[in-house]
Symmetry: C2
Subunit: 664 residues, 2 copies
């Protein structure tokens, strides 16, 4: 892209158009954050007018540069840019409807609402960490498909808040280690946070910190267009990711509030707004953009059309199969081979039943999946051998080996989760990452964004209960399955055997509009399923063992406790009590089924028991609040796992006794 | 404390005693982490034999140095140290019972199980971040009570994993900013992580990174006792917190596994263990410690007795009132004035009802509490003006003003939560910290440790639903109240008006054995309570409005939705339907009540409705799975909050209609 210098007066007009819209929209909405867009308007103007490879008419062009506004509260910056550059759906009415119900301009940028937004931001630190995933995907995809298909940058505007969040450290450490040199972070270095001057809470030398993480870093005047442009030029030439700390004035132009925390999170107010417009030389009318300025911006928006066409031509010279594969990958379409591979795998399991941990079953499934699905991108937060996520054929990705398809994320669960969002959003890969289930607590803000945005990320979470044994309560999830089930649009599977594991992987990989958590055991489990024709996990729950005669009790269980339910059923049968067993690989998916389906599975047996080595919360939906729950009521303990199951009373005997007690 | 040089041979005997016990205990337990204690034995030996101010017989001596093993998987290091130095309950049998049910030696160090353990560690990064809170508490308490009462150091042994976790960045940024120069981190710099050499996942220059955060940092040979001692000497003289990167060999002494990830997380195995003992010159018998070595260690354990007695004498010269106040503070006893202040506050509310947000009610409660409770230590993660946690009289803590009693934690929710654990564990303060409820996701690993350890931390979480309005779904908690209720020992309050807020604050501050989350609104609410004699929130739920006649329906609600329930009750009354309203400030506390108490509050009205602007999960315990739930089923949206309540159907009309529909 050309990086022609603009006369300063022209630049100022462009930048002030952003400031103007931001001030007006926040004022009209009576809420929002004017200071950030006013402070970063110069940076954004330089980036968009001279560097960013984009075509406003085609926001889904695969080889566009990615632009991430990590400081999502400054959403009016990006809405203004979308409107000014002529993004199809971003009308002036949308700008006027800032923060109103049904608008394309919600309080924080939401990629599932607004075309042209690359990722949802607002929770601080997420944008920069997600951008690392995007840049990683770019590097991997370029290595695979070549520069004709993939050759773009990822730009981030980040705030002090982004850099204070711990996740930013995980993200920059990964980016530095991987030498993601096409990642360029423009730091809105304004020395102001909500509580006041940054100095009341922070004194980190950010340049030095980024350099320590393997970044190129420099500081410039964020209101000097040529300094900004020169810094971006230097960054583009670097072999490292770059931090450009841009010294800015928050609320630039506001006569009294500029440079203070008062410009941060509330409308400027009529007087200050008027003063700012006078100072900046902007017409006083709300939402007025001079035609020549709008025209100049629209030209910027159209500037990339030629580049995009060049890309189309170049891409068109690739072998047709490669083109089709690239398009498939970018569209998140699954390969036809996948279903066949999993069907064969399930058949093999049926022929050769496995008595293994579900983390191990998952490894078997992964071995079946990998040859069928080149976009399958596994990884682990330094628990590879425990999570069993690495296929034998998988090679580690590294700066030197960008074709590697296994990611060692390091001990950075949160960074891993956010990077996976970025990888999924970029397109080209189906990311899955692993740690112990208990450490979903570390990932949770990014997992929530997976759910909110609807990214098809798979969280492979092993060691899913007290069944992990000796590591004790700090490592034993008790409330995690329940708390993940509580999260809207997060699918949680807790499969009971190797066949359910294969089914759940199948469902997870085909779920491209939302994330899935697979909760897997450390301990061995028998293979309970004797059929593979139908993916029974797809209903969330199903009858695994029929009652002999009219059922007096139904035993519901998930994961490792299905074995216990089956044993309890046998104990009861021996005592002449007919009971059935319902396996519940996904309680949340089951609760989404139509009422008649649910009623049929729940059945009418008078005694209802749920068995799960976790808290009761959520199970009342199946067993009622008068049902019997066999599970945990508090934290676990450190001991061999079989002792723990006895200690906490999660046994077939306890379940059978509870039923007998109810029957009387 | 004396820092006399030990002959190298003597030092080696002491260090090898640690290695020996660690190897043997892990071998016997058939699980655990031998490599870390073997690698850090020299560091720990130098620290304990020459520097650490402690008296093994009195692990609760208030002015002891704090020692935190952040790399909690190396728990055998600290168990060995406790046994060797003669901690009262740590017998050799306990060491032999490593990782067994009921032992004092669980897989990871648990301060609620084992005396002498300062904090529970294992989830990486938590130890170092908790230690920052301890060092902060030391500085604040020393400023208040003087060096005669408080003058100790906080030492941490941290691993690569601790430093890769994002929370470590938040923690070190705070420590550097606050100039916590009595915090000394000994970094077990062994270049190995579970997946292999650290270089596969990390290339951060840790020294430079810590220096960027305002730390003193240097690198030494972690197996050279004199180098370790000299570095600690230098650190003690620094005006900054110190990182001492100690280059070590993981599994030091193991002939084949030393220096590899194989030494990390599994028993060495018989051959390797034998070889290690030969190499180190340790007797081959399991758990054998030569009498002279044990004797030398026991002398180290008793070394601090004299210092402790000196402290007792010096402390005894303080004015008796000051002594009593210090003892009260350290014991987490609440001042007598507190109850009176809150009673007066509630009376004043009754006389002068408030129509304000509960975050504002909370501010009023804080204004009442602060003069009565000098240990009350509020703070916010850069949302002071939104969280309303700063009393007018409160002055910000800073390096220059250690008497300040308000903490600007910066945009570091996770670091704040962990620091609060450290402050509470240290003693002397009752910490509470604030952010938006949705960002409990960022705090969750530390909140879980609050719950597991039973620290009396108060989480002030405002903007607790879609009621925050325009900021949209990234900022609107939907599943958070449910997911916090799922966490064992976490008390969650969602008060409905200013009086309930005062009651919940009272319950939270008097809960010294577990954490409390206060979920508070952004939006204004009416004062619904008309009585203050009994703290009705203490039961978790209670009948707020009686039915006129025999109740046909019960409307349960929490927080901002109680107002809606009350309005629905009136709508129903107008239609001749008698309904009662039950306010549920704490669903989890209510579910802990005896069955008869619960039954009485739940009542027998045929229609049960729960209203909460969150997910349904958990409410079935009150309303049954056939009850009516008026709440959220997915994420929120960006709009003024009144529109959102209508949009999502959380209104009195919807609740009343649902009841009428059921009654038919």
């Amino acid at each position: 892209m050309p990086t022609d210098t603009l006369p300063r007066s022209e630049h100022d007009k462009l930048a002030n158009a952003i400031r103007s819209l931001a001030m007006d929209a926040v004022e009209k909405a009576k809420s929002g954050h004017p200071g950030m867009p006013m402070g970063t308007a110069d940076i954004a103007t330089v980036l968009f007018s001279r560097f960013l490879k984009f075509d406003a008419s085609t926001p889904d062009w695969p080889d566009r540069d990615r632009f991430v506004l990590s400081a999502g509260h400054g959403s009016m910056l990006v809405y203004a840019l979308l409107y000014l550059t002529g993004a199809p759906e971003m009308t002036l009415d949308e700008i006027k409807n800032f923060r109103q119900l049904g608008s394309k301009t919600p309080g924080h940028p939401e990629n599932f609402i607004t075309k042209g937004i690359e990722t949802t931001t607002g929770p601080l630190g997420q944008g920069i960490a997600t951008a690392v995933g995007m840049a990683l995907a770019e590097k991997m995809l370029a290595a695979e498909f070549g520069k004709k298909a993939v050759d773009h940058h990822t730009y981030v505007i980040a705030s002090d808040g982004d850099l204070m969040e711990g996740i930013s450290q995980e993200a920059i450490a990964m980016a530095g280690h991987w030498k993601l040199n096409k990642l360029i972070v423009l730091f809105d270095d304004n020395d102001i946070s909500i509580d006041g001057p940054l100095s009341i809470a922070d004194s980190v030398d950010q340049l030095k910190r980024f350099q320590a993480a393997g970044w190129r870093a420099e500081r410039i005047n964020g209101h000097d267009p040529e300094a900004i442009a020169a810094a971006i030029e230097r960054a583009k030439k670097s072999s490292k990711p770059s931090l450009i700390a841009c010294k800015t004035v928050i609320g630039y132009g506001a006569p009294k509030k500029a440079g203070t925390s008062k410009a941060h999170g509330e409308p400027l107010g009529a007087d200050e707004l008027k003063g700012a417009k006078e100072k900046l030389g902007i017409a006083p009318e709300p939402f007025a953009i001079a035609p020549d300025v709008l025209d100049a911006w629209r030209k910027i928006g159209a500037r990339g059309a030629a580049t995009r066409k060049t890309w189309e031509s170049l891409f068109g010279t690739l072998p047709p199969k490669k083109q089709a594969e690239f398009r498939r990958r970018i569209a998140h379409e699954r390969p036809a081979k996948l279903a066949k591979a999993l069907a064969a795998h399930k058949k093999a399991l049926l022929a050769n039943p496995q008595h293994i941990a579900t983390r191990k079953s998952s490894e078997l499934a992964i071995e079946a999946i990998v040859p069928a699905m080149p976009e399958f991108l596994a990884g682990s937060a330094d628990l590879t051998g425990s999570n069993n996520t690495k296929a034998k054929s998988a090679v580690a990705f590294s700066a030197k080996n960008p074709k590697g398809r296994y990611i060692h994320y390091g001990i950075r669960e949160h960074g891993m989760a956010a990077a996976m969002n970025g990888i999924a959003l970029h397109g080209g890969f189906a990311p899955n990452g692993a740690t112990f289930l208990v450490f979903t607590d570390y990932c949770r803000p990014a997992m929530r964004l997976s759910a909110l945005m609807g990214t098809g990320v798979v969280y492979v979470m092993t060691h899913d209960s007290i069944g992990l044994g000796e590591d004790g309560p700090t490592h034993q999830p008790v409330e995690h399955v329940a708390s993940l089930r509580a999260m809207p649009n997060m699918r949680v599977f807790r499969p009971c055997d190797a066949i359910e594991v294969a089914e759940c992987w199948e469902l997870a990989l085909n779920r491209i509009d939302g994330p899935t958590t697979l909760a897997l055991t450390r301990q061995n489990l028998p293979q309970l399923r004797t059929d593979v024709k139908v993916n029974r996990s797809a209903a969330g729950a199903y009858e695994l063992v029929k009652a002999e005669g009219k059922a007096q009790a139904t035993l519901f269980a998930s994961g490792s406790e299905v074995e216990i339910a089956v044993a309890a059923q046998k104990l009861l049968a021996a005592k002449g009590v007919a009971a059935r067993v319902v396996s519940v690989p996904s309680l949340d998916l089951f609760l989404e089924q139509p009422a008649d389906v649910r009623a049929a599975v729940i059945g009418s047996a008078p005694v209802k028991v749920a068995i799960e080595a976790g808290v009761r919360q959520g199970w009342d939906a199946l067993i009622g609040h008068d049902g019997v729950f066999v599970g945990m009521t508090g934290f676990g303990a450190s001991a061999p796992y079989k002792e723990l199951y006895k200690h906490f009373g999660i046994t077939a005997e306890a379940a059978a006794e509870a039923v007998l007690g109810r029957i009387g």
